[in-house]
Every structure is written in C-alpha cells, then in structure tokens.
Symmetry: C2
Subunit: 349 residues, 2 copies
Amino acid sequence: MAITIKEVAKRAKVAMGTVSRVINDQPGVNPKLRERVEQAIKDLNYRPNARARSFAQNSTSVISFIQSNRHLLHPFHVGVLQSVEEFCAEAGYLVLFTSYNYSRETKSSELQLPKVLQSHGVADCLILAGMNSENFVEAVEELGVPFVLLKNTYTGGEKSRPPVDMVGWDDFAGSIEATRYLLELGHRDIWFIADTSYSWYKARFEGYAQAMRDAGLEPRGQTIGLSDNLYANGYACMDMILDHGYPVTAVLAGYDDIAYGAWDALVKRGLNVPRDVSVVGYHDEDQAQFKMPGLTTERVDKFAVGRQLARMAIEKLRSPGKRLPEVVLPMTLMKRGTTRMLVREASLL
Amino acid sequence: MAITIKEVAKRAKVAMGTVSRVINDQPGVNPKLRERVEQAIKDLNYRPNARARSFAQNSTSVISFIQSNRHLLHPFHVGVLQSVEEFCAEAGYLVLFTSYNYSRETKSSELQLPKVLQSHGVADCLILAGMNSENFVEAVEELGVPFVLLKNTYTGGEKSRPPVDMVGWDDFAGSIEATRYLLELGHRDIWFIADTSYSWYKARFEGYAQAMRDAGLEPRGQTIGLSDNLYANGYACMDMILDHGYPVTAVLAGYDDIAYGAWDALVKRGLNVPRDVSVVGYHDEDQAQFKMPGLTTERVDKFAVGRQLARMAIEKLRSPGKRLPEVVLPMTLMKRGTTRMLVREASLL
DNA sequence: GTGAAAGCGCTAACAC
DNA sequence: GTGTTAGCGCTTTCAC
C-alpha cells in the first residue's frame, strides 16, 4: 500500500541500509548517495512507517500522561498537560493522554489498569498526574515502566516515597509566606477556607496554622467542604463564617476559585474587598491578574511543573533505570489588589 | 528482555498461533488449551508487545487529537479533549494529544507538520480541533489520513467544505434565540460584544444582527477586540460603551468570560446586573451556574461535541474511506439570573 | 562507506 | 481446532 524503504532504495539505486542511514541522519553516508536517496524520498513522497520503526528499534518516542482521579477541566491540570506537551514536542516526543479513575482503596494487584498499561510498549515512560495514591503507583512499579510523579497530589498512606522521580512545590512554605504577609498588614482575624481532606489543602492549612501560632494567634479554618465546585464552596464557606458573625478581616482561600466564591459572598453582603476584608488565593489562575482589583495569590507555576515533569520523563526514557532527584518548585506571593493594610478603626474609637 | 508469545506457547505446550488466538479472544479454541494458555500468561506475567502487534496488524488503536492555534487552557477546548478521551477509552482507543500552531497564510505544501504526521502510522485517524484553516486541512487530505474536523472554528477561505466529517453547532440560530429572548423581555438597547474577526463570534454577531433587524432595531456591536484575554476584553468593551454614554439595557457577550468581564465593569460603575443591565453569555462554562446570580447563557454542549468527534473518528477508523454526514448540535438558552424583564421607567416619566 | 541479510514479536493464511 | 510458517518494514550487524 504505502511506499516502503525498499522502493526508495530501488529508485535511488542503493541498499535499504543506506536509506535507513539517511532517514536517521546517521553520519558516514557518501553525500552523492545521500542526495540520491533524498531525491527518491521526495519523488515518492515517502514517509517512514512509524510502526515498523518502533518495532525494529524496540522503542517509541511516546510519553504517556495519565491524569488520575481529577477532571482535566481544572485549570491547573490542563496547564500542566499543555506544558508537558509543549516540552515534549520540542524534544521530539509525543504525548498520549489518558484519564484514569480509581479508588485508593482497591488493592494494587486488583486495579483495572488503563489500556495504555495493559499491553507493553505503547509508551516508554509515564507521567502520573492528577491525584494519585499508593496502590496505583505500586502497580506501575510492578510493571517496571519508568514514571515521574506529580508530588503534591499524591497521598501515600504510611510509607512515604523516597525523594526521587517527583515534581512538586512547597505548599507549606507558600502558605506561611501568605499568612505572614497578612499578619504584616495588621490582620489578626484571618480565616482559612478549603477542604483539608485533600492533602495539598492540608499542607496549606498547616502552613497557615503554623504562621498564626507563631504570631500567638488561633488558627480559624472552615476546612470542611460544602460543595464540590470550588467557587461554590468558597461562597458557601464565606457565607457560613459571616452567618456566625465571626470576626474576620482577611481570608486565605485554598485556591483562586475558592477565593472568587468567597469574594462574591462578601460583595453580596455589601462588603468591599479589600476595604472590609482582604482575600488571598492560591495558584494564580488566568483571571487573577485581570480581575479588578487583581487577586492577591500564592502562585504555583503550573507550566514549570509541566516542564519539569516532561524533562524528567524524557531523561528517564533515555537512560532507563536512572533515578532523578525530586524537584521542589517555590511558590511566589503575587501581591495585588485584594489585600490591604488594616487600619484598626474599631480600636481607635 | 520481556516475555514473548513464544515463551507463553512453550510453557502452555501449544503453538504460537493458539496463544495469539487466545489473546485476541478469537473463537474456536479448545477450552482446555485456552485454560492452559491463560494460566501460562498469568504465570509469566505476560503482556503482549503493542509495537509488534500494531506492526503485524498494520493498524493502531490510536487517535490523534490535534489542537491547532488555540491554548488548551480555554475551558471549551479542554472540555472537548476530555470528552473525546472518555469516549475513546470506552471504545478501547488511545488519544495522542498534540498542539500545533501554524499561520493560515502558509502554503499548504510548506507547512511544517507536527511530528505525529511526519511519519506514517502513528495514529490511524485524526481529530482536528482548536482553530483550523484551509491550508492545514488540505495538507492532511494530501497525506491521505482520515480525519474529523471541528467545524465552527474552521475558516475556509472561499471554498467551503462539503458537509461531511465535521462536528459543529448552530451559532447563528443560537444567537437569534438569545437576542429574541432579550427582545421579549422588552429590551431595545442591546449591545453585542466580541471580536468578530473570529468566525464563530462573527456567526453569533450575525444572528444577533438578524434578530435585531427583524425587530426593526439597529444592531450595536463592540466587535473589535481590545484584549486577547476574554475577561479583560469584556471589561474594556463594556467600559468603552459606558464611556461613550450609549444607551444600553442589555449586553450579549460572545463568550461567558467576556460576559464576566462586562459584568464586573458594570458593577464597578455602581450598576447592578440584572437590575440596570441584563447580561447574556455563550457556552455555559463551569462557573455560569454557580455565580450569583447565575449567568444566562446560550449553551454549547462541549462534551457532546467531543463525543461526536470521537464517535466519528472511530467509525472512520473502522471503515476507511467512509465519509460521515456532518453533525450540527443545537445550542440551548439557559435562562438564569442575569436577565430580567425591562420595566421602561424612563418612558413612564 | 555500502550492501546483504538476520531478526524484532506478532498475525494470519494455510496445511493438516 | 491446532500447528507451522511466511511476512509485516525497518534497524543493525557483519562482511566486504
């Protein structure tokens, strides 16, 4: 059906081996022959057969991106995928996207693995993104396929993983930074909002709590999720705090969308941000800088996360068995318009 | 290195062919032998070599999703991808994700094609999503790889494509519906906001304009983009309209994010939605139903779009050469809280 | 530097 | 119903 290397060889009047060398840019081919081969390739409109090639080489330039237990719709996760793909494309690798849902309760050996793992050789390295747990990572290790893991969304049970082949960022330190900033602005009644049954929100809450205690203050958290939608959860939690009449001059919301929800709940009550209440988010998603005023937020560079995941995956692909040191990216506080110095009017009265 | 079919055959004391039949669930294998083979597979922890298999069969179960000229970060596009992947996974197909940027000015034959198309046989069918133009589609046709095209974001130059192998929705009709709804609510000063240099916004503007003219009214559009960020564009356009002091009681914003920007610009001026101005968006992205009040919007079911694309891609994969009739999905008006009946106080005075 | 040929692991056609 | 074997298109080794 399609043109093969044989036909190219015949037309160029060389051996198949020579054509192969030309296609693969291998040195040591007589320029004259190379020329002839290239002409024949053009004439015949030849494209090498990727299947035959990867079979013969026993390798593919495909990296499998597995998005576990989280909708890709989440702007953070798409950002990671997008950035992984860009980095891989640049380096000449293809990205196979699979979403995979499993329960963390299922025994490792009983997991119904995604198709990409059911046979062997579809992809030569995996990126385990989304939200993973021990059982799946164990199953992957069992298969012996090299992989790189997104750290912050991994929940590992008792055993924690050695600090290799992972990419993450420092939620705890970031949270301390954000909380200290609010404290410096004079805030004392600072609330934390996010469902801490997720490990990353938990780390953020702990950073917040630590900074509060360091300042001799009591941490105040609305840490039980009231909705699966982040925005709606922020709205509901803020509402609940206000309903109870708790004093609050600043809110640390575990994610930008939660912050937007809280913000709208405040506005609904006639409160102004940042005049009456300061609001801080996490992640710095797209809208954050465009909203008026811009949302102050603790930034995670999701593109950097993707790039690191891709870089490591490619490196592992090239030197099988190699273990790469964990990468921990910093968070950065983006100081924008939703936070302001607290003027303690009440105490001036 | 890895276990092969040969070793399984030896262990089960059958021929390779029999093992192959068992793996591929082919009928006509003695249950006893089948049993023995399955046991051997388990014992040896055998996983078939996907590379060898696809080479021998001269086919892969891989569909290539090509996202052209648009960031995946856009919630619509991720939604399509996510839904394509879900449908494909269900049917036993894998999705290769590639983003590809090109200029619509480049000649078809001079396009630097993405890696997935540079060799032959990586994927057996393509989904051309994102935003495409004639030159690339022509190049793909030249290659002879079957493909399915996302219609509404395709800009075809003079020649329009025959109504096959495409999935779309009816922007024009949806826009007429939304505009008529505002007219029924008593609005006359209805503005349209969106950069109509994009074909889908153009179709929406035309539907709006048609409905306005049908009602004997002059269409009023802020159709020049003031920012690449949708939210920021909505904000800026609304600002400009208000700056000029144009009468406006309702805004039709070409996309939900544009609507949010316009909304915030109104609020900033002390105007209330929907009391002072009604706002309508398009697409029904995630937040639309959670915002307070919920955004009235003309819905595109992006998941349905993805499902249709995937369904057609798989069908084309299975029967090569087949052309499938174009699918046009309806839009649906989601009536929520940002629109209200206009009480013409001014005229009562 | 080039040609010839073995072989990658599987499928499918054929013989029994 | 099962075993045998050719062959898929390429890479790579080996001889020249």
